[in-house]
């Protein structure tokens, strides 16, 4: 399906960073964007840094350092900082096999964890490699939540200030150039129609745009509850004198839904004056336990974010 182009649609961006508050569905939105990108003909890799899950929670494939092929045009990968450091060293230092044993030492692990931003820079370096290499047209980064994401965005600049010369400086420079280049990188913020999540998204948007001058938008508003009833209808339903148990439960469902819609509407009003471009994604009500259920969920999400994903020209 070819989506109508909008001003905020992605075009040639190689790196799409999906972030937002914890629990708003970043992984779902990132997976949807990656899947839609692949459908649009872009060879896409979905990348996470998350070290805890052995398998991708929605794609149900193993998460490994080497991109794992999910389907035609779509791969998934987990960038592990230690492996990123090792790859960096092997590439940048001749005769580094000499140091292989060193990676296993406690001193090295301590150092890697202690040097400010070192692991983060190595992970960003791997994202850079994927985004600028020939294997993929697009990297969709299922990024950490707000706090850690801010730290990640700081890292190249901090490194450039701390280390004036050498390979680390060179590496940080490349990454910084990629992130700041609006033709190659875009941050897509995800939120839900709740006041605190929206507040956090707006703060993060200002941070990306004003502090770092990174291209950001649109704001993906996930889990919008359908607005099916008027207040009058709900009042009439809840005052029905006689109803069976099932009908009572159904009326409660309708009333709860209406209450949630009103709360979401009030939260969304906060976005009114901000000029943010919005991409609304409805709450997708379906089980996602079995593999086929997850696949259906991803397909539905991909459909909803397809207007964001530019097709190959």
């Amino acid at each position: 399906m070819v989506a109508p182009a909008s001003s905020s649609a992605l075009s040639s961006e190689r790196l799409v960073i999906v972030t937002g508050k914890g629990g708003v569905g970043k992984t779902a939105v990132a997976t949807g964007i990656a899947s839609a990108s692949a459908q649009a003909g872009l060879r896409t890799v979905l990348v996470t840094l998350d070290a805890r899950d052995a398998r991708h929670p929605l794609l149900d494939v193993p998460l490994e350092y080497q991109p794992y092929r999910v389907s035609a045009g779509l791969a998934a990968s987990r960038v592990d900082s230690l492996q990123a450091v090792q790859e960096y060293v092997r590439r940048n230092f001749p005769f580094s096999s000499f140091y292989e044993g060193f990676f296993k030492t406690r001193a090295f692990r301590d150092f890697s964890a202690a040097a400010p931003g070192f692991e983060e820079l190595m992970c960003l370096g791997k994202l850079y490699d994927l985004a600028s290499g020939r294997e993929f047209d697009r990297v969709v980064f299922d990024a950490p939540a707000t706090g850690h994401m801010k730290l990640l965005l700081e890292v190249p600049g901090v490194t450039l200030r701390a280390v004036q010369v050498g390979p680390l400086n060179h590496n940080a420079r490349k990454i910084q150039d990629l992130i700041l280049d609006s033709s190659r990188t875009r941050v897509v913020l995800t939120t839900v129609p709740e006041e605190m999540a929206i507040q956090e998204a707006l703060e993060l948007e200002a941070y990306c745009r004003d502090t770092h001058r990174i291209a950001v938008g649109p704001l993906v508003v996930n889990r919008q509850v359908p607005d099916r009833f008027t207040s009058t209808e709900i009042a009439a339903l809840t005052s029905l004198p006689e109803a069976s148990t099932n009908l009572r439960e159904a009326i409660t469902a309708a009333a709860n839904e209406h209450e949630e819609v009103q709360s979401q509407r009030a939260a969304l009003e906060k976005l009114g004056g901000t000029g943010c471009e919005l991409l609304m994604v409805p709450r997708l009500v379906q089980a996602r336990v079995e593999r086929h259920e997850k696949a259906q969920f991803v397909a539905a999400l991909a459909e909803h974010v397809s207007t964001l994903v530019g097709a190959r020209t």
């Binding site: 805890r52 001193a107 400010p116 706090g147 507040q199 956090e200 159904a250």
Partner: protein, 370 residues
């Protein structure tokens, strides 16, 4: 068999409640609501949050929270106060307390590495959070401290973090770095150049000399305060092991969140730490017996009018809302099946359909918890 987590009792009996959980599960709001619950019981509660997004302040309807406890207006016989944990300020205070001399103190404050570390290095926020808890428990005379932990991907991060920082300062890296670079930073860079340590040379090539020298200077200065730090962290661990301290795991009814419960429980038991139980927020509750609407119900709906006018399509819309309600309820029940068979006390909190952004909402939430 699963028992019911009685939060009123937890709040009445404990002295410290540490709220753990991954990001976005409602930790901050739950912590604040537990504070309200305690105040209702006549206790004097302090809610401490680490979150940089000032969300607790928002939940309490306050414009901003400070580093010092601020009283929160609550209609209850007890009292409630809230504060933000400021990592940098608490860390600075520790340095002031333990630095053996003013030179060491100034060297640490001026160190580029320290400036970044004290707010961003993994583990520093958690260590400092517990440090502040230690201070509050000793000095400020609250009956109950409710500690909100930093946003983490995993509930266990909070427990792992302080140890990582201590290990780092105590570790082989320090002994390796402190000698050559410590001298180099003070005297001749050449001294370092002559160091035969292959590892150091390699790390230097990897990162550049400035970075290692800075790190070395920091570790050198810090190692002089190490005993003080270690003693503090020891007391923090003791405090966490007290029977009056308990951990509360907060989850969402989702696979990824609930998978952490087992690991969390095993870890706390292994370390001899108390667990209050698991609180699952935002659960869609639906009567499992609820079935399709029968002919009678459908005809009742189709005959409904408002001011004499029929309601177009009402039957379909109610059926659609009902169907989604049942699917959500069944999905959450299925996700929680494993948890319900376990031996931890569990409390499920129904999905709150309103945003919690005022004291009024928070009190309503406390009502649900109590």
């Amino acid at each position: 068999m699963t028992s019911h987590l009685q939060l009123e009792r937890t709040v009445a009996e404990q002295r410290i409640i540490i709220c753990c959980g991954s990001g976005g599960v409602g930790k901050t709001t739950t912590g604040a609501a537990l504070g309200v619950l305690a105040a209702r019981q006549g206790r004097s509660a302090l809610v401490m949050t680490i979150d940089p997004a000032h969300r607790l302040a928002q939940a309490m309807g306050l414009a901003a929270l400070g580093h010092e406890p601020e009283p929160v207006a609550v209609d209850a016989p007890g009292s409630l106060a809230a504060m933000m944990l400021d990592t940098k300020r608490t860390f600075d205070k520790l340095v002031e307390q333990y630095a053996p001399s003013s030179q060491v103190r100034e060297a640490i404050f001026a160190n580029e590495y320290y400036r970044q570390l004290s707010s961003s290095l993994g583990g520093s926020r958690e260590l400092v959070a517990m440090e502040r808890v230690l201070e509050a428990v000793n000095e400020e005379g609250y009956d109950l401290l409710i500690v909100d932990t930093p946003p983490a991907h995993h509930a266990l991060d909070f427990l792992d973090a302080p140890g990582r920082l201590i290990d780092l300062i105590d570790g082989s890296l320090t002994s390796m770095l402190v000698k050559p670079y410590g001298l180099a930073a003070r005297a001749q860079f050449n001294l370092f150049r002559q160091s035969s340590a292959m590892t150091l040379k390699f790390m230097e090539r990897l990162t550049g000399f400035e970075m290692l020298a800075d790190l070395s200077e920091f570790l050198l200065a810090f190692s002089s305060m190490f005993d003080g730090f270690k003693e503090r962290s020891h007391r923090v661990m003791e405090l966490m092991r007290e029977p009056s301290t308990t951990f509360l795991l907060i989850c969402a009814p989702e696979e990824s969140s609930l998978q952490q419960v087992g690991q969390f429980q095993a870890r706390l038991r292994g370390e001899n730490l108390g667990i209050a139980g698991v609180l699952v927020n935002r659960v869609h509750v639906c009567d499992p017996e609820a079935g399709d609407l029968d002919g009678g119900a459908l005809s009742t709906l189709s005959q409904m009018t408002v001011e004499g006018r029929p309601l177009a399509g009402l039957v379909d819309r109610v059926e659609a809302a009902y169907a989604e309600h049942r699917i959500l309820g069944a999905a959450d029940a299925r996700a929680m099946q494993g948890l319900m068979g376990g031996d931890l006390p569990v409390r499920t909190v129904p999905h709150f359909r309103r945003d919690l952004h005022s004291m009024f909402d928070l009190e309503a939430f406390a009502e649900v918890l109590g």
